[in-house]
């Protein structure tokens, strides 16, 4: 990147470091921070949508739907979510391929599960084996996002379900007294009011989501953990112009600091948002704050 980088062996330590930190591989490392932010930007609203769906289902009067919604919320409670991550990545992939297989190759007569193999016809493979590398990467990222959204959707469903029940009963009764239908009461009275109750839980969830992003590594995405391991490992002078010992401790220290800063900034921002939302809402705001203080 810099002009003096042409011969690294002759440099003093400050310049050497400047050159070292701007190699092409390090650019990948910096881009992977963008991957993490992108994941957060896509997952947060998707998970919220999943959560909203789950909470609505759990409130449903039709018992199979409500049972399904409640099971979705309850499952995450007892099982480590890393297990969910590892499970969904394979399960989703196989589910997609299975559906495509049924649609695209109807006259395939062999079983799909043959012993330890999962065999679908070539046209049903996802992504197609002829697809370029970037399609594979995008598909992997897409599956990861979906996995995160399903798991965190269950968490946010729990928060939203609680928030919906926290809206004072009198508000809903008033709406009924005005002759609103169940649907109207839900969309016009319940949903606008529940956010103040949901925000403490949702901001907690946002912090948890930030801290779950390194698990992308387990889902096979080349994220910051992957590059920190890759770049930090002992660099042999035969293969690189910038040989160094085992620096993985330092790389992970950098990641640690990155996450500390990120969560701290989020915390400050969310505090401000809460203060702004509750400002002027003497009743609900006061109740939400009292609830937060008591929880």
């Amino acid at each position: 990147m810099f002009e003096f980088c042409t011969d690294p062996e002759t440099l003093d330590s400050a310049r050497w470091l400047a050159c070292y930190l701007t190699t092409g591989k390090h650019a990948n490392f910096y881009i992977s921070f963008g991957t993490v932010l992108l994941l957060l930007a896509i997952t947060a609203p998707t998970a919220l949508a999943f959560g909203f769906g789950g909470a609505m289902a759990a409130r449903s009067r039709v018992w199979p739907v409500s049972w399904l919604g409640k099971a979705y919320i309850a499952l995450v409670r007892g099982v480590p979510d890393i297990a969910f991550f590892l499970f969904f990545v394979i399960a989703l992939d196989q589910a997609f391929e299975w559906v495509r297989h049924q649609v695209l190759c109807p006259d395939w007569d062999q079983p799909i599960r043959q012993g330890n193999d999962f065999v679908v016809c070539a046209a049903a493979k996802l992504p197609l084996s002829s697809a370029p590398q970037w399609v594979h990467e995008v598909y992997g990222f897409f599956v990861a996002v979906l996995t995160f959204a399903i798991v965190f959707g269950a968490f946010s469903a729990n928060v939203l379900f609680g928030a919906m029940r926290a809206v004072p009963r009198a508000q809903l009764e008033t709406a009924e007294a005005y002759g609103m239908s169940r649907r109207q009461t839900f969309w016009r009275i319940l949903v606008p009011q529940m956010w103040v109750y949901a925000l403490p839980g949702l901001s907690n969830l946002w912090m948890v989501l930030i801290k779950a992003t390194p698990l992308l590594f387990l889902l096979g995405v080349e994220d910051i953990v992957y590059w920190a391991r890759e770049l930090g490992g002992t660099a042999n002078p035969r293969f690189t112009a910038y040989p160094h010992g085992d620096w993985r401790t330092w790389y992970f220290l950098a990641l640690l600091v990155f996450y500390l800063l990120f969560t701290r900034v989020s915390e400050i921002f969310l505090e401000r948002l809460m203060r702004k939302l509750t400002h002027g809402q003497a009743t609900t705001g006061g109740m939400a704050q009292a609830k937060r203080g008591g929880a």
Binding site: D81, L218, R248, Y259
Partner: protein
């Protein structure tokens, strides 16, 4: 091979007792249940020891965070901030590579790079930080009247803390602390995915579940087995903590006793 034989071979495999080679093909349901259950021993080991040791440090940190002495207070605040503000996954990686580089200088750090000690220390510090924050909140919620009554009875210093403040703190913090315990046990599944090597394939429940899923390419059997084990484990924890909760609240009138009301608060 009968299921009984499998249990004899693999029930303690995660500790290195029994058959050395893991099954390689034609996995039976029995093998999967036995091996994943065997791995659960590690989860219980990590969770129990970290929780027990973390409990004492958490109390110290909670008191430290409320201390009037500025260095003590700052130290406790930073301890809690660092361990609660960063992902456990990164903490594991960092600790592992730190111990690895220390090992090359000082032979004393040799055992620290193994999961049984290194990961245990990280989990211990992590749970101490989370529980410390819970206890600190409870300390601030202790009714003023309780402390005043203690003063009136002539309690002071250590005996006031030991007899009045500490039991009340535990009583108030217990529901949240139960949650923390549940999620600590869940967090133990991260250990063997974060640098710490599973020496001779002695791993935890998720390690074996992942092994089977990789080998059979069928996630629909091992992961539900794992889920079943963890739901059982969670129920055991809730029962045990519920018993302690009953004892902590035994002096209160029946009406005022609060059952354990648990909230979802997920991983770190």
């Amino acid at each position: 091979m009968s299921c009984w034989q499998t249990i004899q071979d693999y029930a303690l495999r995660s500790l290195g007792i029994g058959e050395r080679l893991l099954p390689r093909e034609d996995f039976t349901l029995c093998e999967q249940v036995t091996l994943i259950g065997s791995g659960l021993l590690w989860n219980i080991y990590f969770g129990t020891l970290a929780l027990l040791a973390g409990f004492f440090l958490a109390t110290a940190v909670a008191v430290g965070k409320g201390a009037r002495n500025r260095p003590v207070r700052k130290l406790s605040e930073w301890f809690i901030f660092v361990f609660r503000g960063s992902p456990l996954f990164i903490q594991f990686f960092f600790a592992y590579f730190l111990f690895l580089s220390l090992k090359s200088h000082v032979a004393f750090f040799d055992p620290f790079t193994s999961a049984w000690l290194g990961a245990l220390i990280v989990l211990f510090l992590n749970t101490a930080a989370y529980s410390g924050e819970i206890f600190h909140g409870a300390l601030r919620a202790i009714p003023k009247g309780d402390v005043e009554a203690a003063d009136a009875y002539g309690f002071s210093g250590w005996s006031r803390f030991r007899r009045i403040v500490w039991p009340t703190m535990l009583r108030l913090a217990w529901p949240a602390y139960t949650n923390e315990a549940i999620f600590l046990f869940h967090a133990t599944t991260l250990v063997f995915f974060s640098g710490f090597p599973a020496w001779r394939q002695k791993g935890d429940a998720l390690y074996y579940a992942n092994y089977f899923a990789d080998k059979t390419f069928n996630p629909f059997v091992p992961y539900p087995i794992l889920a079943g084990y963890f739901i059982l484990l969670t129920l055991v924890i809730i029962t045990l903590f519920g018993l302690i909760n009953r004892r902590l609240n035994r002096h209160l009138p029946q009406e005022a006793r609060r059952g354990l009301r648990l909230r979802v608060n997920v991983i770190r």
